[in-house]
Symmetry: C2
Subunit: 240 residues, 2 copies
């Protein structure tokens, strides 16, 4: 790779860094191509050589963090323990991601807003979908193993897919709670991640995934997952 090509690669990362931070601090509406170009020290035309459009840049930001989420989930898949402890490791991965990439939810939601897609390059949409699918696969695999092992007794009409969607919804809900905090005066609900943990526990109990949360202490397994799997990240995220 020539020095010039390397420079271009580096610049793309810097563009994404700036866009990501701008998105977090000033929102989508204030994500201006001129401003981003200035911040990185290039002209607007150069930015458009990296990204087809403003929305494509937004998508690239989402794609980059989605890939990191998939990587965290895959690391969680290697956790050793009971089937439900392993799902707990996946939840821990979600928590780490939640804390480390606060911009992502907003970015992904914007990208997924149905009518934005046409302006985004197909490769990026595919990449985003692939990363999300990868996360589901990890969770689905663990749940399927739990069924095989007899830890997770599915009733008629229930499926591991349904379970994973439910967990995913609770996880996404943690992002929403940042907005809802103002409505809820309940002190037990003031931290998004704590509520996520508690509700995920209730949800898996509802499926009868053994051992149930009152039969086993999942806190220690979670702590082990955080340190063993995500030491540096969990520390940076303030989860340790």
């Amino acid at each position: 790779m020539s020095p010039k090509q390397q420079e271009i690669r580096d610049r793309e990362e810097r563009l994404l860094d700036v866009a990501q931070q701008m998105l977090l601090e000033r929102g989508y509406e204030d994500l201006r191509m001129d401003r981003i170009a200035d911040a990185v020290g290039v002209s607007k035309g150069t930015v458009y050589q990296h990204f087809h459009s403003r929305d494509d840049l937004l998508a690239a930001v989402a794609v980059r963090s989605a890939a990191k989420r998939a990587a965290l989930f895959e690391r969680a898949a290697s956790f050793e323990g009971s089937s439900r402890e392993r799902m707990g490791a996946v939840e821990a991965a979600a928590e780490v991601f939640f804390a480390l990439f606060p911009h992502h939810e907003h970015a992904e939601r914007l990208v997924r807003a149905a009518h934005l897609s046409p302006k985004i390059s197909a490769e990026r949409v595919e990449a985003l979908e692939g990363s999300t699918q990868r996360c589901f696969e990890v969770a689905t695999q663990i749940a399927a193993e739990a069924v095989t092992a007899g830890d997770l007794p599915l009733r008629a009409g229930q499926s591991v897919g349904q379970l994973c969607v439910g967990l995913w919804n609770l996880y996404q809900g943690a992002f929403l709670m940042r907005d809802l905090e103002k409505f809820m005066s309940d002190p037990a609900v003031d931290d998004a991640l704590g509520t996520l943990q508690r509700n995920a526990r209730v949800f898996l109990d509802g499926f009868g995934w053994r051992p149930l949360s009152n039969e086993h202490d999942y806190t220690t397994a979670r702590a082990r997952a955080l340190t063993e799997l995500f030491g540096a990240e969990a520390l940076a995220a303030g989860l340790l």
Copy 2:
């Protein structure tokens, strides 16, 4: 009220109708003030007498449907039955709203996007928050009654607020599933509302809200709620 004032009122409704449909069909990016004005047959300046800005118009759309959601939830509060059946009526209200106002989720999320708020009039933000809070109050009240009646045994650290947040997250997740459908090949997960029902059942079972879903048939109570409370709307939504 003078005829002129009545005309202005009517026009505002028509502006909201047009904006709502445009938002659904073409998305936020293509929500153009000129186009809306043309569609209603007024000039752009007139639109700006109803709404301070484009975002304020978007907020007004969200406020209008949020008020209808609160109304549906309050109707659900009058349902007669066991505590958990009554919460089922609230879920039915959420389903009716989900089917009748497909635009709402998108609109509300945009409004809540942190950095949009400054451009929206304070009254509308308050109105939106009030309607959302009203929905939570209805659900919280029912859950609290269930605790008092001994149907809902909360464990240490659990609260009715946590429960309502969880249900709310599962409900919001139904909106997300329209996007996720493409990733999930699981046929048990292909309809958002069915998954919502099943997961809400699992979730409340996890709390031990009696009678549990395998001790009682909640399908008939749901059907009764749909017909008794939301007859016309449920029919229009295709839920009956």
